[in-house]
Symmetry: C2
Subunit: 309 residues, 2 copies
């Protein structure tokens, strides 16, 4: 008997569904347009069909395959209730009992958490944090997410919403955040933050200057784009130096679209981090890119919720 | 057989040694002038004599008493090595293997941690955090210390130095801190920080205006003293609102000399906290005073290291 797990990564635009082995091999992977399913019931039906088809296909090679469970990474996912709660980027409003619906449809255990926490579990199970008991994972996409592992366990907090580092205020009265407050870390350090910084540096910037474009410009040597990354890294390094004072991690992993810029982001981040770190911590906490392939990471992370549990 | 534990709280000026029952009764308590023992060997001898005398005395009432272990709260105490490391306020320089020395002298297990972490364990074992799995304890003395409990366990971090919230930078390029950096939380929120704030508000202030004096003035209605507390609480509330984004605690407990001012400190702290909190967290995280008696708390906290272990 070979056990496998389904990993589902739900995003505002796309959903990815994969089958993952215990060793972290992605045996199947398919996509779904989240926005095509304004009704949650239709989404569950479509996901169930994909999973059943994937299992049928894999059974050709692995006849003794059994499905151990389903792990879901979703925005505003609450691990304690298995629900998605008031996710601003999804068309399913209110409180959606997603874990329960998938469990009923597929008759296996289903657990859910938010996408950044899933990324942290994935890094611990299959990535560069293997064997580590204390580390941080920071996901840099449209916003900034985080997963904090301490004493070997992911921190969920009393209500399931620990690790909202994107909403630590780093600049009092700073940029307006989607949460309604001002100066949150993610208004500076994220794809959105990078674009804001670039526009502040170059008032002639247009809407074609999205994060991808700015990354290309930086890689081609554009000074304004490089400066926008430097300021982003400087703020990230500062925020990470403060974060270390909470849980004193062994290492910090960065993940997501923004890190494709490589050293253009990492160098100013590390310099700012090291410069602003309390003496106790200096010199031994490393900031690494995630070791997971970007295209598989979300599915591996979601699957780890089951493998780790 | 009734087991008891020794709790030792080492401060720069005084050391307190107590015998604690499993229910949290302090059966004996004695003091020692830390500064009278520039040689650590002499300190160990004096502490051993006190403990042996306390045990002998208690055995009159509880003949079947056994000593389960010794817990020590000490500045710069490293729980992983049982050593005190480069504590600026102690005359024992370098790395002092305190747990090992006490173990050799008294032949029972000895564990050590820093004073704020001991306070958090004490609150969990004997105080207002009984049964809680996610909470923070903030100690407000000369500096600002903290103990973070998540998933039911105290967070030590990779190197034993988690929970240095006093050294989170809250004002970039702000007040000079003893750690050599600028704008650390404890330069604003601590007895030292209160005095600095008072002096900024009242340039005629003299050295007689220490934290105790400012507390008295505030209680008597002095507007400048009350404003100094208000600014202290405002900064503390801001820092705690940010802290919640890390571990999402159920409650936050404040402990130490500064909280004797009561509502003069708590009111502005709670107002600032609630105002600056991310929506998710609003309305259900309470800030309480510690439930431990100030005079017993340090000894109870130190003893909890053994009772909790």
């Amino acid at each position: 008997m070979e056990e496998v797990v389904v990993g589902i990564d739900i995003g505002g635009t796309n959903t990815t569904i994969g089958i993952v082995s215990k060793a972290g091999r992605v045996l199947a992977k398919d996509g779904l347009r989240t926005k095509q399913f304004p009704e949650i019931a239709d989404f569950i039906t479509a996901a169930t069909n994909i999973i059943n088809q994937q299992i049928t296909n894999i059974r050709h090679d692995i006849p003794n395959l059994t499905l151990k469970g389903i792990g879901v990474g979703a925005p505003n996912g609450n691990p304690y209730t298995g629900t998605i709660q008031n996710a601003p980027n999804l068309s399913w409003k209110g409180i959606v009992p997603l874990a329960d619906l998938l469990h009923k449809s597929l008759k296996v255990p289903c657990k859910l958490t938010n996408d950044a926490k899933a990324a942290a579990l994935g890094e611990q199970q299959f990535g560069a944090a293997k064997g580590m008991k204390d580390f941080l994972v920071i996901t840099l996409g449209t916003g900034l997410g985080s997963g904090i592992v301490a004493n070997g366990s992911l921190i969920y907090g009393f209500d399931g919403f620990a690790g909202e580092l994107g909403h630590v205020i780093v600049v009092p009265n700073g940029r307006l955040c989607g949460c309604g407050r001002h100066g949150c870390l993610e208004t500076y350090v994220s794809a959105t933050g990078l674009v804001s910084t670039f526009k502040e540096l170059n008032p002639k910037a247009t809407d074609t200057h999205d994060a991808r474009k700015i990354a290309e410009m930086a890689q081609e040597g554009d000074k304004t784009a490089i400066e926008a990354y430097r300021l982003t890294g400087e703020m990230l390094g500062f925020a990470l130096a403060n974060s270390v004072a909470y849980t004193s991690p062994e290492a910090i992993f960065l993940f997501g679209g923004l890190i494709r810029a490589g050293e253009i982001l990492f160098k100013p981040t590390r310099e700012s981090f090291e410069k602003q770190l309390l003496n106790n911590y200096k010199g031994h906490i490393h900031i690494h890119p995630s070791a997971l392939h970007e295209s598989d990471a979300a599915v591996l992370g979601a699957a780890s919720i089951i493998w780790n549990g």
